[in-house]
Each structure stands twice: as C-alpha cells, then as structure tokens.
Symmetry: C2
Subunit: 243 residues, 2 copies
Amino acid sequence: MLSKNQRKQILQLSKKKHRKTDGLFVAEGEKVVLELIASGWTFEFLFSMDQAFHPDAQLLKWEEMKQLTQFKTPSPVLGVFKMPKRSEILNEPITVAVDGVSDPGNLGTIIRLCDWFGFSELICSETTVDCFNPKVIQASMGSIVRVQCHYVTELADSLKSLDKPIYGATARGDSIYEAKPSGQASYVFGSESHGISPKVTRVLDGELSIPHFRGANQRAESLNVATATAIVLSELMRPPTQK
Amino acid sequence: MLSKNQRKQILQLSKKKHRKTDGLFVAEGEKVVLELIASGWTFEFLFSMDQAFHPDAQLLKWEEMKQLTQFKTPSPVLGVFKMPKRSEILNEPITVAVDGVSDPGNLGTIIRLCDWFGFSELICSETTVDCFNPKVIQASMGSIVRVQCHYVTELADSLKSLDKPIYGATARGDSIYEAKPSGQASYVFGSESHGISPKVTRVLDGELSIPHFRGANQRAESLNVATATAIVLSELMRPPTQK
C-alpha cells in the first residue's frame, strides 16, 4: 500500500530542486534498480509489482505504479535511492564532456557509451539535463553507477584546467576518420539544436566531424548527439587497423 | 478550428491498423513536416500554431495541438500525409536489416543513420515497429523520405534471396574492428532484449560484435541497438586508415 506522503514525495523527485533538497532520486526498471543495489547504492524505498523481486520491496498494484511513473507505461520495479557522494574530477587520459545536452534519453545513452568504452566520468555543463532525472537514469541502464557525472558552472574553464587539448564535435570540423587525434585529450559534444556554446568553442584546439556519405545535391542531414558520440568514441578507442 | 472528425481520425492514426485502412500517417515537428513537403510527399491536413508556417496550414491553439499529439509536449506543427507507394527492394551493395526492433525511437534513429551513411533502404522484419508510427517518423527527423523501409514476412528468406553474405550484430561475435567484412553483404541488427531471432540466426554467415573496454571483473554492459548500429555502420563505411 502506497501512502499519500510517499506518492507526493516520489512525484516531487521528478524535479531537480526536490532531488537536491531530499538528496534522493528515482530509478525505474528492474535492470537499473538491480544494478544500483548490486553496486551498493542505498535505497530509501523499493516498490515492486512482483512479490518475489526483493525482500525489502513494498508490493504495489499496477494502478499504484501508474501513479508514480514518469513514463507512459510503468515499470514493474521502482526504487528511491540516496544520491551518491560527489568526488573530484579524476582527469583520465581521455575526457568526454557534454555542453547543453537537454534530452534525457540522449544523456542516458551517452553515459552508457562512456561506460562501454571504459570511461569513469563525464563532464557536464550546467545547461545539461540533470543525470538524476528519472529518464536519464532509465536510459543509462545502470551505467550511472560506473560513470560519474560532474556538473560544472563554466565548462570552458573546467576543460582548460585539465591541461590537455580540447576537441569539439561539430558539423564543420575535420573528418574524424582522417584527423583522429592521439594521446590525452578532451572531447566535447554539444546539443543537437544549439551545438557547442560560444564560450566552449573559443577554447577548442580543434573541431572534428563525422563525414556523411550522401551526394552534395542531397539535403543536409544531421545525426543525433548520442549516435555522434557513439561513432566518435568508437573511432577514438578502436585498435589501429592491422591490414 | 479543429473538427471532431479530424481529431478522431488523427488520433486513430497512431494505430497501424488505421494507417493501413486510411493510407495516411501523422508527422509531428516542424523540421520533419517541412522535409516531407520539400520531398514532394502529399499532405492531407496541415496544422500549425504559427500563422506564418504554411499557407495551407490550419491555425490551431496549443490546447488543440495538445489533444492531437502522441508526445508529452505538442510540436508547433503537425501534418497528416499520404503513405508513399511501396517499391521493390533495390539490393544495394550493403543492405541493413532490423529484426524485431520494437522501440520507435531506436528505429527512427536507425533510419536516420542509414540516410547518413548513404543507404536508400532498410529491411524490417514484420516484428519490427511500423516505420509510420508517429514516434518513428519524429525520431527519423525526415530521413524517412530518403530511406525506404521494406517490411518482409520472413526476414531470413528475404535476406537469403539477396544472394550475398549475411552478418549479424551479436554479443558473442568477432570484433567488428578486426573481422570487418569487405564487399557486398547484409547486416542484421536484433532487438535489445531478444537479439536476432533463431530463424535469422540460422542463415547468418558470420557474427560481429563491438568489443567493450572494461575489465572482466566489471558487470556486463550492453549498448542500445541504435548506438550499436551507428558504430557498425561507421566501421563499415570509414575509409581505410592512411597511417
């Protein structure tokens, strides 16, 4: 049985302001919730439509779950977790940064990609959607436990302070297939609609782009920021061609 | 002013059955609608919240748009278009196929990727979400005009009939970075949860995977099917390394 207060609190956690005040966030979906628990993240409440899910889970009906979800269709499992402690930026050899990525699905997918390619952190401009937004958590599919998102007030300054070249993924840059930088560097991805902000553009040491394969008489196309990130990270991390 | 009948018909077009009967589909979003019009696709109705959008558009209030949208937030523009005529499979040198991809955002992103990499068609199993689903149309960002989706009843048979090797993207395949096939071939991508169906798996000439870069003591991760497609297509299409 869901209490009125629990419901109110959980719905409020869809807002960043309340997540900050309460130090809590919501994760929906069995895989994500299990991954958070397995990684030692502490839950405050756990709800499930299946008695067998977890001994500490409160059993809820579909109708109750429906009242809590941020999605069109509720997941069978929802957890309210304590926000993890923030740590300092590690400055790994390769740093990935996002500037103003506002779509939660895209940010979650980028977190998952960072995890896949072995990066432990992602630097986010303040204009980027909050990584504890329920839709980011869901799209990250649990990768949030291995990739720490650092929100910084001035992305340009933070990247400069890492003391390595900064490259931006833009539409007009050099082909990533030909101009692939080697060695330590930061890579910035901007929002699909606004690109990389002027302040960050000014500190770039180079611009990279993914060439497209259509004739010039075709209309311009674009890639979404998560697929562009996938291609650039794959290109950076792939072993040199043998043949 | 929106008539009751228009509203009813447009809402019904969110269902594949009604799209088939009426021969119509809905596109939401200014960029997508403009791209469909520019490509000569015929609209039945056009709605906009902005008088200046198009001379043939009916002006709607936000509240009316809100009643029509399949999204949480309505777009300023919505168009009802006639379905284009279906044509035969071209069998380009490289064929991309999807097997049971059910998430509309993923299918739309894959259509956009095919467009980016210069493919004019995508072969879809019958178990794949319909490409005229409003969410697929929106995620494809207009690329649907350049990439024809062919729905086939038996994907395995259709791929066999193209008479070239068939590769599947799987979790256990050879590294795409090392085993990249050259020449004419088909590439199949399965759904995130179910992978490639057993029937299609039986006709594969090889399996390819994207290696991950985490230590073996880390928990298993996965990539979503759209980002996996992005990485595989980029790897297939990139020019050979110069250095």
